[in-house]
C-alpha cells in the first residue's frame, strides 16, 4: 500500500528539484503523446527544446526567446509578489491590455510630432493604465471585502471589450480604409520601442524585465516590505501581530503587479506588435501565472521559467511546421508542465511511504 506522510519540515531539496523533475516528466509524457499521434517523439522533443537554442536558425530564434519571454517575466514578477502574500491577481491579462491602450493612446495623441519625450510619457501612461485597472479589485477588496480573484478576472473581459471598441473607434487608423486597428507605432519613430541592437531582440521591455527581476529579489530579501509580504503569506496571524497593514499590502501588491503588466502591454504594443488591434492580447497575462508558479515565485526562478515557456512556444511552432504536430498537442504539452509541477510539488511537503501504516 502506498500512502503519503507529511514531512515535519518542507523538503528543501524537493522544492528545488520539482521544476526539473516536472520538465523531465513532461518530456516523457509529451513524447508518449507525440508517439501516439504517429510523430517521432525524440525528434519532436528535440525540435521543441533544442532547435530554437542551437539549431540551424538559432541566430533568429534566440532573440525571439527574449521577445516572447520578456512580457511573461515582467508580468510574472509582479504577480509573484501578491501570490507570496496570498493576494491573487488573476486579471493581469486585462491590466496588460489597459497598459497597452493607455500607452499607445498617449503615443497616438502625439502623432506625428517627433520628440524625445513621447516614449517616456508612453511608459508612464502604460504603467498607470495597468495600475489603475488593478486598483479596481484592490479598492473593492479593501473597502468592501470583495474577492479579488473574481473581480480581477472579470475585468479581463471588460478590458477585452474596451480593446475591441478602441480598435474600431477612437484609436482606429484614420488612413486604414475603415479596417480595425490603430496606426502602426513601428512606423512612428518617437513612439517605437525599437530593438536597442538590431536583431538582438533586446528592446526596452526586455531590459525592464531584467530590472524587475533584480528589484523583486532585493525587495524580497533585503527590504522590510518584502519580509511583510512573505510573512503575510506564510503566517497571516503572525503578520498582523508584527504590525503589517493588510490594506497597504493589498494596494501595493495589486498595484505593482498591475503596473508591471501595464508596462509589458505598452512595450509589446509599441514594439513587437506595433499596433492596437482587436486580437492584440494573446494570453501573456494568464501564461504568466504558470510562469510565476513554475519559477517557485522566486525572481530568478521566474526568469528561468519565462525562458522555458518562451522556448516551448517557439519550439512548438517549429514542431508544428516541420513535423506537422497539431497545435492542440503543443498546448497539451504546455499544460502538462503545470500539471506535473503541481503534482510533484506534493513531494515538498509529503513523502511517499510504501507498506501498511505503522500502528501507534
Amino acid at each position: 500500500m502506498i500512502r503519503l506522510e507529511k514531512r515535519p519540515q518542507p523538503s528543501q531539496a524537493w522544492s528545488l528539484a520539482t521544476p526539473l523533475v516536472a520538465v523531465l516528466a513532461t518530456m516523457i509524457a509529451g513524447g508518449l503523446l507525440f508517439a501516439a499521434l504517429g510523430k517521432p517523439p525524440i525528434e519532436a522533443i528535440r525540435t521543441i527544446f533544442w532547435e530554437p537554442l542551437f539549431g540551424e536558425f538559432s541566430f533568429y530564434y534566440r532573440p525571439q526567446l527574449l521577445i516572447k519571454g520578456a512580457p511573461l517575466v515582467l508580468i510574472a514578477i509582479g504577480l509573484s509578489l501578491g501570490f507570496k502574500a496570498g493576494i491573487w491577481n488573476i486579471g493581469a491579462e486585462g491590466q496588460y491590455i489597459m497598459g497597452a491602450l493607455t500607452g499607445a493612446g498617449v503615443g497616438l495623441a502625439f502623432y506625428p510630432i517627433e520628440g524625445w519625450y513621447v516614449f517616456p510619457l508612453m511608459i508612464l501612461a502604460g504603467a498607470f493604465g495597468g495600475w489603475l485597472w488593478a486598483m479596481i479589485p484592490a479598492i473593492l477588496k479593501t473597502r468592501f471585502g470583495t474577492n479579488e480573484i473574481l473581480v480581477s478576472l472579470m475585468l479581463v473581459y471588460v478590458a477585452e471589450q474596451l480593446l475591441a471598441s478602441m480598435s474600431l473607434g477612437l484609436l482606429k487608423n484614420p488612413e486604414g480604409y475603415g479596417f480595425p486597428g490603430s496606426r502602426n507605432l513601428q512606423q512612428y519613430e518617437s513612439a517605437h520601442n525599437a530593438e536597442l541592437i538590431a536583431n538582438s531582440g533586446l528592446h526596452l521591455g526586455v531590459v525592464a524585465a531584467f530590472i524587475a527581476v533584480i528589484f523583486a529579489y532585493v525587495l524580497l530579501n533585503r527590504h522590510m516590505l518584502g519580509f511583510h509580504i512573505r510573512l503575510t503569506g506564510e503566517a497571516p496571524r503572525a503578520a498582523r501581530f508584527a504590525g503589517v497593514n493588510p490594506t497597504r499590502l493589498i494596494l501595493f501588491c495589486l498595484g505593482t503587479s498591475g503596473a508591471l503588466a501595464g508596462l509589458a502591454g505598452l512595450f509589446e504594443v509599441s514594439g513587437p506588435a506595433g499596433q492596437v488591434s482587436i486580437d492584440f492580447n494573446v494570453g501573456y497575462g494568464f501564461t504568466a501565472i504558470i510562469v510565476a508558479f513554475l519559477g517557485r515565485l522566486h525572481p530568478v526562478g521566474i526568469l528561468l521559467a519565462g525562458g522555458l515557456m518562451a522556448l516551448t512556444y517557439i519550439g512548438g511552432d517549429i514542431a508544428q511546421s516541420n513535423l506537422g504536430l497539431p497545435s492542440s498537442a503543443i498546448q497539451v504539452f504546455q499544460g502538462m508542465l503545470l500539471f506535473f509541477l503541481l503534482a510533484f510539488d506534493l513531494l515538498t511537503n509529503f513523502r511517499i511511504r510504501l507498506g501498511a501504516p505503522e500502528t501507534a
Partner: protein, 357 residues
C-alpha cells in the same frame, strides 16, 4: 528600417543556398489564425492547401501552422517558414497584414499572399472574395422564407467586409419582401461558439425566424435547430451537417482554384504581385446546395440570381440606393465601385441601428 543586417544577409545567403538544392520541389507555407478543425474559415483554407497537394503531388511540399496569434507570433512563424526554404507563403488572416509586409521585406525572394488585406509590395499579393455576392443570394432566400418578417444577423466586427454583407443581404431581402426588418447583434468575435449561441438565442427571442451569421462556428445552427422553426445559412464552410433544416444553404469560401493558380505561377516563375477580389464567377465564392426546405420557385429565383452575379450581368449593389441617413448613394442603374465597397462603413437606407464605434 534597416535591411542590411545580420539576419537579412544570413537569411539571403541561406535562401540562395537552398534555392539551388530544392529547385525541383516548391515549398508552400500556410499560416492559419484558427484550428484547421474550426469547420469554417481556417478549415476552408486548409482544404485549399490539400487541393494544392492533390494537384501537384510530389512537385510541392506544404507546411502549415495553426492557431497563430496575430502580431509578433505570426511574424515569427512566417520568418521561420521563409528560413526553412518556403517559396510561397499564404497568410490567411487580416491581422497578419503588417507582419507579412515586415517579413516580406527581409525575404525578397519569397512570395507572400495575404488574405483580405490592402497592403502590397513587390513580393506581397493580396486576395479576397466577394462574399457579398453570396449574401445577395442569401438575402433573396431569407426574404421569401421569413414569416415573422424579422431576420436576425450575427455580425462579427463592424468592419467593411461585414457591413457589405449586411447591406447586400438586406437589399435583396427587401427586394422580395418589402416588410422585412433586420436585427443585428455584434458578437465581437470570429469564432466563439458560446457567444454565437447567445447571439442566436437573443435574435430568436426577438422574433427572428431566419438567422444569418458572419461568424464561423456552427453554434447558431445548433441554436436554430433547438428552436425548431428557424432557418440558417452555413458560413465560410457548407455546414451541411445541419442540412436540410435549419441550414437551407450556405456561402462557401473556395480558395482551392486560387491557391493552385498561384502555386503554379511560382513553379513557372511567372508570379507577380497583384490584388485579387473574386466572386461567384471565378469560383472563389460558392453557394452551398439549397435544400428542399426551400420552395422550388424560391430556389429557382435564388439560382437565377446566382447565375446573373456569376456572369457579371448583375451587380449586388445596383442603384437606386440611398445611405441610411437618406442621402443618395447610387443613381438608378449605377453600380458601386470597388473602392467604396472596400472601405464601406455605412448602412444602406432602411437598416436600423448604428454601426458600433
Amino acid at each position: 528600417m534597416k535591411l542590411t543586417t545580420l539576419l537579412t544577409s544570413a537569411a539571403m545567403a541561406l535562401g540562395l543556398a537552398t534555392a539551388g538544392v530544392a529547385a525541383d520541389k516548391t515549398k508552400v507555407g500556410f499560416v492559419y489564425v484558427g484550428p484547421v478543425g474550426d469547420g469554417g474559415w481556417t478549415y476552408e483554407h486548409d482544404q485549399g492547401r490539400k487541393a494544392v497537394v492533390a494537384e501537384f503531388g510530389d512537385q510541392v511540399e506544404t507546411v502549415f501552422v495553426e492557431n497563430v496569434a496575430e502580431g509578433p507570433d505570426s511574424e515569427r512563424v512566417m520568418t521561420q517558414m521563409a528560413l526553412e526554404g518556403a517559396d510561397l507563403i499564404f497568410t490567411t488572416s487580416f491581422g497578419y497584414m503588417d507582419p507579412t509586409i515586415n517579413v516580406a521585406k527581409k525575404f525578397p525572394n519569397v512570395k507572400f499572399e495575404h488574405a483580405t488585406g490592402y497592403k502590397r509590395s513587390d513580393n506581397v499579393s493580396t486576395y479576397s472574395a466577394r462574399f457579398y455576392e453570396g449574401r445577395a443570394v442569401q438575402g433573396t432566400i431569407a426574404g421569401h422564407m421569413t414569416k415573422s418578417n424579422v431576420i436576425g444577423y450575427i455580425g462579427s466586427f463592424p468592419i467593411p467586409e461585414v457591413i457589405r454583407g449586411i447591406n447586400s443581404a438586406y437589399i435583396h431581402a427587401k427586394k422580395v419582401n418589402p416588410d422585412v426588418e433586420f436585427k443585428i447583434v455584434w458578437a465581437f468575435t470570429w469564432f466563439d461558439p458560446a457567444k454565437e449561441a447567445d447571439a442566436a438565442k437573443v435574435l430568436i427571442e426577438q422574433g427572428a425566424d431566419v438567422i444569418l451569421q458572419h461568424t464561423d462556428s456552427t453554434a447558431p445552427q445548433a441554436a436554430a435547430k433547438a428552436a425548431g422553426d428557424v432557418i440558417t445559412f452555413g458560413q465560410a464552410s457548407d455546414m451541411s451537417e445541419y442540412a436540410p433544416f435549419p441550414r437551407v444553404s450556405s456561402i462557401i469560401d473556395d480558395w482551392a482554384p486560387y491557391y493552385i493558380a498561384r502555386t503554379q505561377a511560382v513553379i513557372d516563375g511567372t508570379w507577380s504581385s497583384k490584388d485579387t477580389w473574386d466572386g461567384i464567377g471565378a469560383g472563389m465564392v460558392g453557394i452551398g446546395e439549397i435544400s428542399d426546405a426551400v420552395p422550388a420557385d424560391v430556389k429557382a429565383e435564388a439560382l437565377a440570381l446566382k447565375e446573373k452575379l456569376a456572369s457579371g450581368e448583375y451587380h449586388s449593389f445596383t442603384g437606386p440606393l440611398n445611405k441610411q441617413d437618406g442621402t443618395p448613394w447610387l443613381a438608378d442603374g449605377e453600380t458601386a465601385d470597388d473602392g467604396t465597397l472596400a472601405g464601406m462603413t455605412f448602412y444602406v437606407e432602411g437598416l436600423e441601428g448604428d454601426i458600433p464605434q
